[in-house]
Point group: C2
Chain length 475, copies 2
């Protein structure tokens, strides 16, 4: 089987090759940019969704599901928002054999689907906060080059929408979302930047936007999620009002929290190596693959031991695959490494006779474990695997964003850059011009910025009111 | 609060009122026939999906997900199929600001999305059987009156699609699906008919179709699922071929198995009563609601005991809601009965002092349970509840389909009817005319038909080759 393209030198080729070879996504579908989720890739997505659901429900959010089609008149109600999406929505204009009276938009995001109904659900301060989320597919008519998970036209999407009594309560919900994302990212073993976007780059219709970015090689970054405070920008046009305790009528303040299948792309991109994908244990389609190594005379013992190991691990809820096919062990090792399985348990004659297994993790570490302590040992090895995966990712993360002191250093930069910024828009645009990319924003409290304070604005040289910001070239 | 309309006299009104009052679906969305899943209704749907996934995966099927949009040219490949759906598909004709070169269909079902990709996935007999399913939303431009869950324009849909080596293997898969549906129906406490549809009523493009129907009052029935054998009808046009062990190239034989949110409608319709919804325990959003009954001086003890009961049940995986609101107990009973929760645990002073709870199930049966055996008692009560729910449904089911011996009995019939049928189409049409409905088909082995053999064809009087069939008025 052919080697993968080099991750460092040919990142995109490497990424596409891993996604294809590991059966994560099939892009041979008849509509460009809309891909098929094959069984293996869909298992990873389900695990990812499970983490999202667990963490968001722990913060008191409940699942809902709104229709995929939005009437044109509802879609048009919030002007900035519609302007932001106008060029990239799909329009349904015909139903059966006739033209529709009112054309329908396939949701690119669900503000305009949900908010007319929120106006019915929210009556009194007793109905607040309203914290609901949905996991659905959204649709965007992308004109840029599409890439599996990262930029697609049908997007597997997580969106929380909330209504709060006032601005501070909404800011509090934003903070709660940042905390929830932090806990999700632990499961993904994924260090990230949490940045407040500059005014000129906030979400269409938002009061402010916080986005999560990761470095993905060179000066490139990838946005993997966002949280927005809408203030009353939508509740005004959509009439989402409540009766306060004092009898007055007020508009709710709203927030949203958006994530997508792009997270899966980020996990592949950050953790993968020259052998293929590497999945954190909570996301891996299988946490453990058991590979029997039959040798003459010991076939039965090896098969029996392998089956026992697999059954015992399943009984404690582990996702296990027993690879009993008749390929040779080396070919199996190769394929399961390509597929990113965290832990391989090899069972041959020696292991079967001694009631042990040889455990090899996807980072290349090996040890013998005794079957009497199988369940505990697997738990320990998977935890150690996640820890080491995180450590390595954090090491690369730190090296991927380097402080810069002068605009000249941004030109052709080989990493993303921490820069001092005075907050003035024109200075921001100078930064963007120099790096040929974007000023991603200023760090939120949950992001580790350089410890020393920034000396001066990299553009105008001002020294007061200067903050760290990140400059990079977003994918 | 107003009483529900009478279920027997005003079934549709009763159904709509229960769906609304129990918060199962919100139809106040801006596109007619596309409804919102509020938190409570979505919990029931998730539980229903969990049963489907459990039973289909137990038969070796794996989850996949195909795009929602299908290129017009792929959609048109199987002539009968496209003819069957032509009048009820939504067309996407515009992307962003421009017309699409190739219009796209929003999937009404996924044959034409999946099969071009199956042609890539299936190469050799080693790739077979290919058994995959997806749970996605489908879209149909319904022109008939829409009803929550039962007839909607965006449909929550389960569809298994399989490829088999030959016709007998495909028939075997059909049988496996019938078995899986039987196990699902146990979880729904739902007796049903499993009927092979007559030739003139099979699915567009099928070789034969088996459908599941339930009686829903009077002579009305509702189709709640179907299994189809496609033979080579799709694998020909879509080129799904494999190399057999002998080196020859053959088309696969295909099957599909379809279910939808209509199952949830069936559960509401069959089990509900004048107090509201009644959910089987596996489907209920909450299996148990704990209602504290605080009395002066015992508030703390009651609250403590209620919390302990709730926590202990959650710890063993039960879905429990502790209703600690300050409504009076009677109002809570009313609302949770309306919402269909199988089991209510009341805890007042007497219970707190004696370490007991009063358990009332949704069918009106009450008993005291000791908290020392709380978990076991709740398990026992829920099992007994499901059993009694099933028994009552089966009793009504038997009364709802009555044998008829002459066409005249079908006219204005107040039940569905078992009839003798010779299998000739013209006789079938006479039956359909008499009952002003449909000949639903002949029973499969998994359906209980009358024990005595049918005497003669109800239409032509022939006595040889006569089989039982069901005549009814499908909703």
């Amino acid at each position: 089987m052919a080697d993968l393209p080099n991750k460092r030198d040919a990142f995109i080729d490497w990424y596409l090759a891993v996604v294809e070879a590991a059966n994560l996504s099939d892009k041979r579908y008849g509509v460009k940019g809309m891909n098929v989720w094959p069984p293996y890739g869909l298992k990873a997505r389900r695990n990812l969704d499970r983490v999202l659901v667990r963490e968001i429900e722990a913060t008191g959010s409940e699942a809902v599901e709104f229709p995929a089609l939005i009437a044109a008149n509802e879609f048009a109600k919030e002007k900035e928002h519609i302007a932001g999406f106008d060029a990239q929505v799909y329009w349904v204009t015909r139903g059966g054999l006739s033209e529709l009276d009112v054309p329908l938009v396939l949701r690119p995001t669900s503000e305009t689907a949900m908010y007319p109904v929120f106006a019915l659900w929210v009556r009194s301060h007793k109905d607040l906060p309203l914290n609901v989320y949905q996991i659905v597919n959204t649709f965007r008519y992308e004109t840029k080059t599409t890439r599996p998970f990262v930029r697609v036209r049908e997007i597997h999407f997580f969106e929380e929408h909330t209504c709060q009594v006032d601005e501070p309560a909404a800011t509090e919900r934003v903070r709660s979302n940042l905390g929830a994302f932090g806990r999700m990212a632990v499961a993904f073993c994924l260090p990230y930047l949490s940045l407040r976007r500059p005014e000129w780059d906030k979400f269409a219709g938002a009061y402010y936007s916080i986005a999560f970015d990761i470095p993905v090689g060179g000066s490139r970054t990838l946005q993997i999620g966002s949280v927005h405070h809408y203030r009353e920008n939508f509740s005004g046009p959509y009439g989402i009002e409540y009766e306060a305790a004092d009898g007055s009528r007020r508009h709710v303040h709203q927030t949203t929290f958006g994530l997508s299948e792009r997270l899966l792309g980020a996990i592949v991109a950050v953790h993968g190596d020259q052998k293929g994908a590497v999945f954190p244990s909570q996301i891996a389609p299988y946490e453990v693959v058991v590979v029997p190594i039959p040798t003459a005379g010991a076939e039965d013992a090896v098969e029996r031991a392998s089956r026992e190991v697999s059954e015992r691990l399943k009984a404690v809820g582990r996702r296990v695959f027993l690879d009993g096919s008749d390929e040779r062990p080396g070919a199996k090792y190769y394929r399961w490494e390509l597929s990113g399985v965290p832990l391989r348990l090899e069972i041959g004659r020696r292991e079967a006779e001694a009631a042990t297994a040889t455990a090899a993790d996807r980072l290349g570490r090996k040890e013998r474990i005794a079957l009497v302590e199988l369940e505990a040992a697997v738990g320990r090895l998977l935890a150690a695997f996640d820890q080491e995966l995180t450590r390595r990712a954090e090491e690369r993360f730190r090296e991927a964003i380097v402080p810069a002191a002068a605009l000249g250093e941004l030109v052709g930069s080989e990493t993303a850059r921490w820069i001092g910024w005075c907050g003035v828009e024109s200075c921001g645009h100078e930064v963007e011009k120099a790096i040929d990319g974007a000023l991603l924003g200023t760090p939120e409290a949950d992001t580790v910025a350089p410890t020393e304070a920034p000396k001066a604005c990299i553009a105008c040289g001002r020294t007061d009111g200067v903050r760290w910001a990140v400059a990079a070239r977003p994918l």
